[in-house]
Amino acid sequence: MNQPIEGAPTPPQEAGTGSSRWRFVLPLGLFAALLIVLFVGLVHSPEKNIIPSPLVGKAAPQFSIPNLVSGGEPVSNAALRGHWSLVNVWGSWCATCRDEHQTLLMIKQQGAVPIIGIDWNDTPANASNWLQQLGNPYQQVGEDPNGRVAIDWGVYAAPESFLINPQGVIVYKEVGEITPEIWREQFLSRIDAAGGASPPPATGG
């Protein structure tokens, strides 16, 4: 190794005060702190790709909104009591909802659970048009033109759907389109595991 060569005699003024060694160790300390943060972040990372929903396992938020059918009763938590139900947030402006609609119609035909629609950021005219053209899978549709209810339910984008048990507790939340596979694997399996669906009430609101 090269022996360091002594420099020329030095003027007294120095940028740093020399022997204070700690400041040369400081970067190492900062790096160690950063590593701890990264390590903890890494251990927790698998949860990160899922948008956390604090609502799962809790009672569905209280709501009461106008029925899409003018003159109909307001749509509220009353519609969710005593049986399994599916709450689907949609809008006529949402392209994916159009794809999902076929699955919803299939679910209605199977008759396992009633579907409660929340028509989000939409006008009654557009929503009614949509249901007339594509068929109506919903037992009831409530109007949420300003997104008030959607905020309470923690909705980021349409479509989002919530599976609610007879006690009115949210069991599962699906972000994005429900496909027949997702319906089978995520929804029906949960209903079956809990002892199957009680027959839905005969009439809508």
Binding site: N2, G41, L42
Partner: protein, 652 residues
């Protein structure tokens, strides 16, 4: 069998990298000349086998060999040939392979310049680079080999993410990585200098061109990425403070500090330990950036996969490389301090402020990038940090930085005072005010509070940068390459500041639902929606809208925004239509069919946005000019002969 050849090539490359590290570091330590001579040969071998592995993977992509999992995941027989090649860096495994390949290219560049370095120093540099290559090759082979087979072989591949099927994407990652990885050379020089405990500042002179090159490539890479996001993501955003953008920006900021501090160390022998620390920090941030993105350590729209084994490996690698270098720093840097003074108002002190402010700016970005992670780790809930935090906090160090540049560029080495430059500073500031204020207040109008400040600063910087070169030309003095490079880079910065200022304070954005024949006004521009029709492309079908733009009754342009649905992946992608112009861009992008013949549209007017990228590219060009215009110095034969006092003979 060709694919297995690629795998074996990587193993051989790894072994050669180990040899390169072993001979490069132990050769000088044990004073064995033949060991030192072996390091460059090992490096050449490592390059050859890495290149072979890359060639094999490209061959698999071109030949549609879907028995290779990585090819099946990222390519498709319907994909055009060009994108089948660039799909190489479409995901994690290939990106890391590209990283390794670029590192071996930089290593070869060092080998080619080895005769300008003392033998021992050069061997140590190659040794440190060998450790880095070895670590990355081991990482690839152990956790993410791109050559894994898939059985049964699928009939066709899953294709490349449509967002990445783009010419800009073809060049963005290689250029960005060339920048990132280039800082490994600065890192290796710093480590070699510390291992030797050098008291002189020659290492700064050797390190400087490499740093400037890497910095220029990184600037180009970031600009390309921003441009790609702007037109490809469909919504006209060019910078969103996304973690992936931030991790490329931090090494650039610290790298900028490094190349300024290197000047002080080279010319005056000052800031030595600080410069070393910056060199370590710059590459550590590049490393952190690569890994954070790839290991899914941070929440990001870009991240591909979260794989804990990879993450643990990465952390171990960081501990060895960065922890090792910082330990070396703690042991050796105290001995490498400099012994010279400077006045409070001198070029040295301005560059010191430059460094402090740039590091603060990088810290602001780092804090914002890691904050969601820390909050998550401490169970404080989900925290999202975006532009509302970054934009204002970033201004705090950057505005004084820009003002100090316009003043400090006139300061002299060592000697105090600015009285000699008072007239120049005031004249350029006055010109900045005279041009900038009317431009901001009258021409573009309705600015946000900081817009006039930005406009004045941008013009002030451009004018200040021109003072010295013009003065030298008038006095018929020669212009050195580094002066030309510096001037060009600073002009680029001024142009960049102007672009950012106007595009962020004078853009107009409207979200509208329109039926055919309806007109929406965006500033002076009338956007008339004509309707949509279905079209089909090579591997997608699309809805294409037509929007006619007029201004004061005159036709400006016809825009065709598209919404594409790709066959293979079924993904939908919004492609904005952009009418580019030096003074403004006009954009239209197609949202959703909202029924009754109406579509939702986003219409935008973005003034001077081109200056953002032009400024960035000019900065990079300045760096290149400084490096390639440099006068060639003879081979270094007497490395330690220049005592510290002697360096003072060169006051720029």
């Amino acid at each position: 069998m060709v694919v297995e050849l690629g795998h074996y090539a990587l193993i051989l490359a790894m072994l050669l990298a180990a040899a390169q590290a072993f001979f490069g570091l132990l050769g000088p330590a044990l004073s064995r000349d033949r060991w030192m001579a072996a390091a460059p040969s090992a490096a050449c071998g490592q390059f050859v086998f890495t290149a072979l592995a890359v060639g094999v993977l490209i061959h698999a992509f071109i030949g549609n060999d879907f028995s290779v999992r990585y090819v099946a995941d990222n390519s498709n027989s319907a994909l055009p040939l060009f994108y089948r090649v660039t799909a190489l860096w479409g995901a994690h495994e290939g990106s890391i392979l590209l990283w390794i390949f670029v590192l071996s290219l930089w290593t070869m560049a060092v080998v080619a310049r080895l005769r300008y370095l003392p033998t021992e120093f050069g061997a140590r540099v190659l040794g440190v680079l060998g450790i880095l290559s070895f670590g990355f090759l081991l990482f690839t082979l152990a956790t993410s080999s791109p050559f894994s087979r898939l059985f049964p072989t699928p009939a066709d591949g899953a294709s490349l993410n449509p967002l990445l099927q783009d010419p800009a994407f073809a060049v963005h990652p290689p250029v960005l990585y060339t920048g990132y990885v280039g800082f490994s050379v600065s890192f290796a020089f710093a480590c070699a200098a510390m291992i030797e405990g050098r008291r002189d500042q020659l290492w700064a002179r050797w390190m400087r061109p490499w740093t400037v090159m890497a910095w220029a490539f990184l600037a180009c890479g970031i600009a390309l990425g921003s441009w790609w996001a702007y037109y490809e993501l469909g919504w006209g955003g060019y910078w969103s403070w996304d973690p992936v953008e931030n991790v490329s920006f931090m090494p650039w900021l610290v790298g900028t500090a490094l190349l300024h501090s290197l000047i002080v160390t080279e010319k005056r022998g000052l800031f030595k330990s600080w410069t070393l620390l910056l060199a370590l920090a710059t590459f550590s941030l590049s490393l952190l950036g690569t890994f954070i993105v790839r290991a899914g350590l941070l929440i990001s729209v870009h991240s591909f996969a979260a794989d804990p084994t990879r993450g643990i490996f990465i952390l171990a690698f960081l501990v060895i490389v960065v922890g090792g270098a910082l330990t070396l720093y703690a042991l050796r840097a105290p001995r490498m301090q400099s012994n010279a003074g400077f006045d409070l108002i001198s070029r040295e002190s301005f560059l010191l402020f430059n460094n402090i402010l740039l590091v603060i700016a990088a810290a602001v970005v780092l804090a914002g990038t890691l904050a969601p992670d820390i909050a998550g780790a401490l169970h404080l809930g989900t925290l999202s940090v975006g532009a509302p935090y970054f934009a204002p906090s970033f201004m705090v160090p950057v505005l004084p930085l820009l003002a100090l540049l316009a003043v400090g560029i006139h300061a002299r080495w060592k000697r105090g005072g600015l009285s000699h430059a008072k007239r120049v500073i005031l004249t350029t500031l006055l010109c900045g005010l005279v041009i900038g204020l009317p431009l901001s207040l009258a021409v573009y109008g309705h600015p946000m509070p900081l817009a006039p400040v930005g406009a004045v600063l941008g013009i002030w910087i451009v004018l200040s940068s021109l003072v010295d070169p013009i003065d030298r030309i008038r006095r018929r003095l020669t212009l050195s390459a580094s002066l030309v490079g510096m001037t060009v880079a600073h002009i680029g910065l001024g142009i960049f500041v102007l672009g950012i200022t106007f595009v962020s304070s004078n853009s107009i954005e409207r979200d509208v639902a329109m039926k055919p024949g309806q007109v929406a006004m965006v500033g002076d521009y009338a956007f008339r929606y004509e309707g949509v029709r279905d079209v089909s492309g090579p591997n997608f079908t699309a809805v294409r809208g037509t929007v006619t733009v007029t201004r004061h009754g005159q036709l400006i342009t016809v825009l065709h925004p598209e919404k594409r649905r790709f066959y293979v992946q079924g993904t939908v992608q919004t492609t904005a239509a952009i009418a580019p112009g030096l003074h403004r861009d006009l954009l239209a992008s197609l949202g959703d069919n909202v029924g009754a013949g109406a579509w939702s549209l986003r219409l935008q007017y973005r003034p001077l946005i081109r200056l953002v990228w032009i400024g960035g590219v000019i900065m990079a060009l300045g760096g290149m000019l400084a490096v390639f215009g440099r006068r060639q110095r003879g081979p270094a034969t007497v490395p330690d002969a220049i005592p510290i006092g002697a360096a003072r003979r060169t006051p720029a």
